[in-house]
Symmetry: C2
């Protein structure tokens, strides 16, 4: 298409979108588009043609209908804190912001449920329900900035996955805008509902490739009465791994069971200055919650297990404030590491928890083999590690080695019965590897579902499915 | 097709199936087919043409491939204990039995996971893991005879749904034979896995319409240390409903919170003779489990709440044996009621738990309006009621009134934010109503998925999708 025609088509689309959402909610300025040309994933950037912010579910559905009719790519976006380039508008088209849909609609204390719009910040939900003695457990490290819509689209995990599960386990009902412009509701305030296929969970974690979540009802649980935090210090990484296995084998499921290696520890301490030990090879940060007497009993037993597995020291957080500081420090691991080098590539290969020690050792050997710097931290209790490579994207030779190293890490995770990604998603970064996990037959099932729901392939094209080659409607630059 | 041609085609199919599974595992005798012409659902019966029992996943996949090629309907079947006619071979074709795939393959204590074949009996899994101090919570009332493959296909619930969730919440990984003859694996021994769409949960509860489950890895949790059971007796059904809400509002989630009305109580006592009170309007059977001190504390508080809500008596089960007797009596409710009249129609309309009292009252009013006898019991804590109609299918006039009454019950459940079926499935019995819950747009999404995965519509045709009119390959009679 000639550039004049492209421009004409784009202007018409802009007008039609403005008819739906209002002129003030459509942006085609360079600066406005630039803001949404990238997300938290390094090395991915592409300009959208337009940025649109619908104000409700009906407007969202109408935008999708228009985009289907005009075969315009749509990328729904919360805060863009994802780490797999899922909100990068790689094929041009429209970035659809959910930021105006940011209300908590209802807190239903009788049914332990909260109903929210997709643009609500995760931590706002947690804080709101905790005031009522209730608890929304999923806590991705980005929870201070991430939106619940993004969490649902990515099936976000966090530090409490081991005991409490992930976002998927707390979504009871959804309202979804489909590419054909229809709005559907799935589920309800119900523990049990087997009326039809589990569309709720099909859309959770579908990374914006099937529809846009316009409302969600989340399951809440009573807030645990008490909580205690300990740090176990190790000079031997394998001993830390064995401690993890032994705690679980002793029939205790801690709320949080985090692992940090020395490199990460030093970076975090340098960043947060809270007095973390930096002279040990690894630590486990362990939190138990529940009724006070059970927390006391479990923490005592856990400390004994860590000591019996050669922990050089076990420290109990003296106060809630200190425990909170430790958790915050752990959450800041990525930010802390990111200060050290121009480019930080964070992965989340995941293995069965019995393979944690093997995987940590394998990562370290692979890093050595390719001569790259990889720090490892992560959710040891659920086998979800975050090998993090500190590098510089301008160094092409090193970047090739980084890529080779991560390929080998993915391969190893799958070999150990694990997966490519525990909580970050496939997006663009892991799409070429997805077949390794699912096989061609599994991918074929996914393609069939995608084709059935989004036949024009307008929803987040270029993500999840690697060989996607859908033409962009309008040139991105 | 002429009957000679039909016979010829059928003989060929029989030979081809025998080539896959062995002659001894294909049955075309009238008696053999008769056994599998119906399931636990009253009033549905249809003869299959053949019954086949593959011995492993590869044979299962090969059978499906052959059935796709020959456009032969396939109905996978465990013990046939489902209550929505899901295993009734309504379009003729092949009943595929999973009974030969009945091994527990691995109990992985480090990762708290058990891997099983589909034909293992649910209770066998529970008993096996409990010997190791572990716990598989889903406990459908049919657990003594139901297979895990059936539980997964139906997403079975049970008495512990409120606190522990349903089958869906305990399936970590599946191996599935697809209609195209491919075998896929989904998930892993992982709490966190976001590599692609959630195919695990798409197949859970898909009622045999998408594929056959050939292996499953189930999540286990540590077995609760202690358990206590109480009975709360009421002369006022609304007071029982209020007690349920108040227990949860007080931040306690009992393991089991069952409701039985007087009609059910009398039938159960008459059947089980364990000394249940039959002079009260309703009872709540409440179980709490967990650490001993927490169980003691919760049961004390729960008893106080029940008394404060006009329970006329609260009785503590004196021993584990007595508690077990009460649970067994509750599980026998359907059998007990079924003795009273020739036909027993059990439904499972489900509402948010705050609507339990409203729903029980509505059911009673609807029964009166249509002059039919409906007893109600069920899982009050998760809003999953089992209104049970005692009737006689030979009485056409009454059966019409029964159908009208249940239609109104479904409508009421949906109006209250509930669903058609909490744990029994759609199958044939509720297929005509499914659109009420999902809307045409939701059903359309389901149809698209079905078409993508099973384009020849061989998997359990005539179920879930009401307007299904796929031609049978071979006449059933």
């Amino acid at each position: 298409m000639s550039s004049v025609k492209v421009k004409k088509k784009l202007n018409k689309l802009k007008e039609q979108l403005a008819d739906i959402v209002g002129t003030e909610n459509v942006d085609d300025t360079t600066s406005g588009r630039l803001v949404y040309s990238y997300d938290a994933t390094p090395n991915y950037q592409s300009l959208p043609d337009l940025v649109v912010a619908p104000g409700n579910a009906e407007e969202t559905a109408a935008v999708l209908k228009l985009c289907s009719e005009t075969e315009t790519p749509v990328y729904s976006r919360g805060s863009g804190s994802n780490l797999c380039a899922d909100t990068c508008p790689v094929k041009g088209g429209v970035v659809l912001l959910v930021k105006r849909m940011n209300k908590i609609l209802e807190l239903d204390k009788e049914n332990l449920a909260v109903t929210v719009q997709p643009g609500v910040i995760t931590k706002t939900i947690c804080d709101t329900v905790e005031k009522e003695g209730l608890f929304y457990p999923p806590d991705p490290s980005s929870m201070k900035i991430s939106t619940i819509g993004g969490n649902i689209s990515e099936n976000s995990g966090g530090l409490r996955g081991l005991k409490y599960g992930v976002t998927r386990d707390y979504v009871m009902a959804l309202q979804i805008a489909l590419p054909n412009g229809e709005l559907i509701r799935t589920g309800g305030k119900l523990t049990k509902d087997v009326a039809g296929y589990d569309l709720t969970r099909l859309f959770i974690g579908s990374e914006g490739t099937l529809g846009v979540i316009t409302e969600a009802t989340l399951k809440l649980i009573p807030k645990p009465e008490a909580q205690k935090t300990i740090l176990a210090l190790y000079q031997d990484i394998e001993a830390a791994g064995r401690s993890v296995s032994k705690i679980i084998a002793n029939k205790m499921i801690p709320a949080t069971l985090e692992f940090l290696d020395q490199d990460t520890l030093r970076a975090v301490e340098d960043f947060a200055h809270i007095g973390l030990p930096t002279d040990v090879k690894a630590i486990l940060l362990i939190v138990q919650d529940g009724p006070q007497e059970i927390v006391d009993r479990d923490i005592k037993k856990i400390a004994e297990i860590c000591r019996s597995e050669q922990a050089v020291d076990v420290q109990l957080a003296a106060s809630e404030e200190e425990a909170e500081k430790l958790a915050t420090a752990r959450r800041s691991a990525l930010s802390a590491l990111a200060r050290l080098k121009p480019t930080t590539i964070l992965e989340d290969a995941t293995v069965p928890r019995s393979e944690i020690a093997t995987m940590v050792r394998a990562i370290s050997e692979i890093a050595e083999k390719y001569n790259v710097r990889i720090s490892t931290f992560g959710h040891a209790g659920d086998g979800n590690l975050h090998p993090t490579c500190l590098t510089d994207s301008r160094n092409e030779d090193e970047m090739q080695r980084v890529e080779a190293a991560f390929s080998e890490i993915f391969e190893k995770a799958i070999e150990l019965g694990g997966t490519l990604t525990g909580e970050h998603g496939i997006g663009m970064t892991k799409a070429p590897y997805l077949e390794w996990k699912l096989g061609e037959a599994g991918l074929q099932v996914m393609r069939g579902i995608k084709q059935a729901i989004d036949p024009k392939n307008i929803m987040n094209p270029g993500k999840v499915f690697a060989d996607e080659s859908k033409e962009r409607m309008v040139a991105a630059k």
